[in-house]
Every structure is written in C-alpha cells, then in structure tokens.
C-alpha cells in the first residue's frame, strides 16, 4: 500500500472547504494522489475512502468510470492521441500507427523502458490543431511524422 505524502495531505485538506461535503472532492483527490503515485490501485481505494468518509465501493466506481485515472503503472510520458472525427479526417490514424511503430508499443501499453504510454483517446477539444496529441497536459498539433520525431526527441 502506498503512503499519502504530507504535501498531498495538505492539498487535500485545503480542498475540503470548497464543498459542503468531503465526497465532492473525490475527483480532485484522485488527481492529486495519481500525480504522487502514478496510478490508483484497488488496494489504495480503501485508504482514500477513509480519508473522505466514504464507502470504498463508491471510490472504486469512480476510479473505474473516468478514463483519466490509471489503474496500473504508466510511463513517464502518457501520449494521448486523438482518434475522433476531425483528427481522423486529417490523417490521425496514420499518426497513431506511426507512434505505435516508432515507440514499439501497442495502444494502451507502455514502452519496455517505461518511458512512454500510448493511448488513443476521444476528442481533446483542440480540433483546429488536428491531428493532435496531448502529452502530460501539453498539446501538440498539426502532427506529421517529422514533427513527432522532434517532439519525442525533446522528451528523451
């Protein structure tokens, strides 16, 4: 079981005043702990439930509902490539395949060196940049194989 760091505990405590009940802070609490731990394991859910005076099953159903929570370790960089309509029209599938080959990793998996996780995701809300990907919160648009090479190089 993972420990909740002092910093995370402090951040979480500050959240409680925002809502009339603790449970409402669950989504943000999970974001904070995931930033610390990398992912949320089932055995950690009990600890989180305790922190928020909740039933563990209610933590579990949230962790499994929202796509941004990871339930197993991910790479240092999580590459989310859009597979939705505008990006597909603009050649998104070629981009996804290029990344798969370049990083030697299948969708949903992490490269053997633990550096990159590759995910195909739904619309990122940046269609003017299509085809687009997001890496650790940063958006990269108008992707071409050359541009991807450059971006990946800079992440190494």
């Amino acid at each position: 079981m993972k420990e909740i760091s002092k910093e995370a505990r402090e951040k979480i405590k500050n959240l409680f005043s925002r809502y009339p009940d603790k449970r409402s802070s669950l989504l943000e609490v999970l974001h904070i702990l995931q930033d610390d731990w990398g992912y949320i394991e089932e055995e950690d859910e009990e600890k989180i439930a305790e922190l928020l005076d909740m039933n563990p099953v209610n933590v579990h159903e949230v962790v499994t509902f929202y796509t941004m929570y990871y339930r197993r370790p991910v790479g240092r960089y999580v590459i989310k490539v859009c597979r939705n309509l505008t990006c597909t029209l603009m050649g998104g599938e070629t981009i996804i395949n290029y990344l798969r080959k370049k990083l030697k990793v299948e969708l949903g998996n992490t490269s053997s060196d633990g550096k990159f996780t590759l995910e195909a995701v739904e619309c990122l809300g940046a269609c003017e940049l299509a085809p687009v990907m997001e890496i650790n919160g940063e958006f990269y648009g108008h992707l071409t194989p050359e541009k991807i090479d450059k971006v990946i190089e800079e992440l190494k």
């Binding site: 209610n58 929202y66 796509t67 597979r83 939705n84 309509l85 505008t86 597909t88 739904e122 269609c127």
Partner: protein, 418 residues
C-alpha cells in the same frame, strides 16, 4: 458589426480586461434589482450555448427566489462534443468574461457559490482560469461585499476526469458530488433539485460569457445582433477539411456557407465539398447542397439538424463515410454511461456494425439494421446521449446509403484518395 466575446480575446490579465470596460456589466447588474437582471437577459433572447438552446432568462426564473436552501451556479466547461473547442478559446483568451458573467448570473438568481466544472484534459486552461479567479478576488470582484454591496460570491474550479457524459447537466452535478457521471431522471430539474438537492443553475461557458455584454449594452441591443428569438452572436469552432480552422464569432442567423467560405477560407486545396456536420458530432450531417441555412437554433431544426454547440466539421470529397460512421459510433459506445439499456447496448451494436462495414466485412442489410437500432435508441433514454448517438447514424445512413452499400458490396471504400 458588434461582437460579444472575441473583442476581449487577449485580455487575459485583469488590468487589460478592465481597460476594455471589463467588469462594467457586473457593476451595472449589482446596481439594479436581481429581478431586473433576469428581465434584461430575457429581453436579450440569449439561449443556452452548450447546445440545447434553452432560453437562459427563463431557465433562471425557474429557480425559487425564496428558499431555505443554498443555491448554486455550475458553469459548464466540460466541453466534450467532438469538434467543439470554443469554450477553451474563451477560457484561454478571456477568462474574466466567465468570472464577470458568473457574478452577474449569481446576483440575478441569489447565488453565493459557483463551481466551474472543467474537463480534466484542460488542466493547462484550468490554471489560467484559476489565476484569473485569484486576480478577481484581489480586486474585490469576488469574495465578500462585491462592489460594496451586501453580496458575496465564491468561485471554485472543479476538474473532471475524462467522461463526455458529464457535459449533460445532471451528470455534471453527480460528478461534482464525487460520483460516477450517471445522468438523473428529470423532472425534478436542477433549477429546484440540483447540486446537493439544492436549486442549481447550470450554464455553458459561452452563455455565461455573453452576460457582461448584455448588462453593459442592454438586452435589446444583444437581441438585435441576432435574429428572431435568437439573440446575439455565436462562436463557431470550424475544423476538418478547411483552409483556416479556428473559432469565429458571427451574428446568430448568419449563413453556414458564409462561415465556411468567407471565414474558414473554404475547402482546403480547392477540393469539392462533400458534407458538413454543423453542430458537433451528434448533429445530423448536411450534404454539400444543404449548406445555405441560417445558423440559428430554429432554422437548423427546420433544416433537419441542429445548431448544437456550433462545432462545424467540414468534409471534402476525400472523406469516406464508412470511416466517419465508424468513428462516430465508436465514440458514443465508448461514452455511454451504461444506465439505459437502449443506449448501452445499442451504441455498442452500432459501433460493431459500423466497424465491420469500414473494414470491408459488412453484410447486406447492415444499413437497415443500423437504422433499426438507431430508431430504437431515439427518445428511449434518460439523457440526450442516446439521441446524440442515434441522430448522426440515421442521417448518414439516409443521405449516404448508396456509398455505404457500395462499400459493403465491394468490401472496400469507394472513395479515391491520393
């Protein structure tokens, strides 16, 4: 031509925003009675910019004025409709429009606590908004005694975590309460039983961002920018096969053709226009000869589609409709919350059938099967996600039946691509 939102783009810092007459609308609102603010918004013919197009002033007036319960405002920044990125532009380029609008709405309805529900992927933009909120507190535009009045408002940002359905107002409320985003049965509506079972207003970012203009220039002025029953301007997010994808602000009632050709630069590479999805991926597709329509809620319904969020996706002659169908159906299958059987089952069945058509394994009769499933979802679910999944399928199957049939027969896409 007067514009409501884009003239403030670039005024990210509060000083720059104030220089451009920022917070004058909020000041004006707080100098008149809350009921009069609601009247002004009713006069403006402002309708919900998230896609439903419900009159904003009317929505507010359903909230009880006298109640023992606290009331809440939820600003919906869970922009997730494929093709839509206009709210991101507002947050990124003029965050104070949202804060000022929230002050106006809260004064009008009697609200002291507002949440901005922002999609999890917009972390970077949430930080911009957070900074703007801090600035507003420092200037006394948020917190206690705003503009010296006995009125307080606190705004908090609440980040989502990846779920399209949370853009639906009752799912958003569930998510704010720390739960799965399962939409609620309505009635009761959020206006009386919303967040924590308290009276709640849920308004889209763009709707909120129109309020400063309405208060500053007057409801009639705003109404006159648009057309009958559709006041003001609208942000359109244009993407796909156009020369200049981006966000454009046009008066309500402008022509879709004008938007595509005069603003977004027309079809890239001077290719032939094939079709347009005019209001996000849930809206019914229009053929190339159907784009002389007026961009307002009522005309778009008459044209058999909807204005939706104003996300215009342009398809040129290289677009393969089987591929389009595959991507759209996969999306709704992925995003269905699973509560209602017709949507949970129907969306995945449609996705499976569209997938097999796209990879050349379609069967004779698949198009009728798709239509049958889509019609069995329409109107039979708790929230509009079911309809959103069915409408584009019905329109694509009806309008591009011969292309899809050819794909099934030939086992490959009939569209020539370079």
């Amino acid at each position: 031509m007067s514009l409501v939102i884009t003239p403030w783009f670039g005024a990210v810092k509060i000083g720059d925003y104030i220089k451009r007459r920022g917070y004058e609308g909020a000041k004006k609102a707080l100098s008149i009675k809350p009921e009069d603010v609601i009247e002004e918004v009713k006069k403006s013919n402002l309708r919900g910019r998230g896609g439903a197009g419900f009159p904003t002033g009317l929505k507010w007036s359903f909230v009880p004025r006298e109640t023992d319960k606290p009331k809440y405002l939820c600003v919906n920044a869970d922009e997730g409709e494929p093709g839509t990125f206009k709210d991101r532009y507002i947050i990124e380029n003029a965050p104070h429009l949202i804060i000022e609008g929230a002050v106006i709405a809260s004064w009008a309805v009697g609200i002291h606590r507002a949440y901005v529900y922002i999609r999890g992927e917009y972390l970077k933009f949430a930080l911009i908004l957070e900074k703007a909120i801090e600035e507003a507190y420092q200037r006394g535009f948020l917190g206690k005694n705003i503009f010296g009045k006995d009125f307080s408002l606190d705004i908090y940002i609440h980040r989502g975590a990846g779920a399209y359905v949370c853009g639906e107002e009752t799912a958003l409320i569930e998510s704010l309460e720390g739960k799965r985003g399962n939409p609620r049965v309505r009635p009761p509506f959020p206006a009386t039983n919303g967040l924590y079972d308290c009276p709640t207003v849920v308004n889209n970012v763009e709707t909120i961002a129109c309020l400063p203009y309405i208060l500053r220039e007057g409801g009639e002025n705003f109404a006159s920018l648009g057309v009958e029953k559709n006041g003001g301007t609208k942000l359109f997010a244009v993407s796909g096969h156009v020369k200049d994808p981006g966000v454009y602000e046009l008066p309500m009632g402008s022509s879709l053709r004008e938007l595509i050709y005069n603003y977004a630069g027309g079809v890239r590479g001077n290719r032939r226009l094939k079709a347009v999805i005019p209001g996000g991926s849930s809206s019914s597709i229009l053929m190339a000869d159907e784009i002389d329509v007026s961009l307002d809620y009522d005309s778009m319904i008459k044209a058999g589609t909807m204005l939706g969020s104003g996300a215009v996706i342009v398809l040129d002659e290289t677009a393969c409709m089987a591929e389009v169908l595959r991507v759209i159906t996969r999306f709704y299958a992925h995003e269905s919350c699973g509560q209602c059987t017709p949507c949970r089952q129907g969306t995945s069945w449609m996705a499976k059938i569209a997938e097999r058509i796209a990879i050349g394994k379609g069967k004779k009769g698949d198009i009728d099967l798709l239509l049958d499933i889509a019609h069995s979802i329409m109107g039979k679910t708790i929230c509009p996600l079911g309809d959103a999944a069915a409408m584009p399928v019905i329109a694509i199957c009806d309008k591009f039946r011969s292309e899809l049939e050819e794909q099934i027969r030939e086992r490959r896409c009939p569209i020539e691509r370079e």
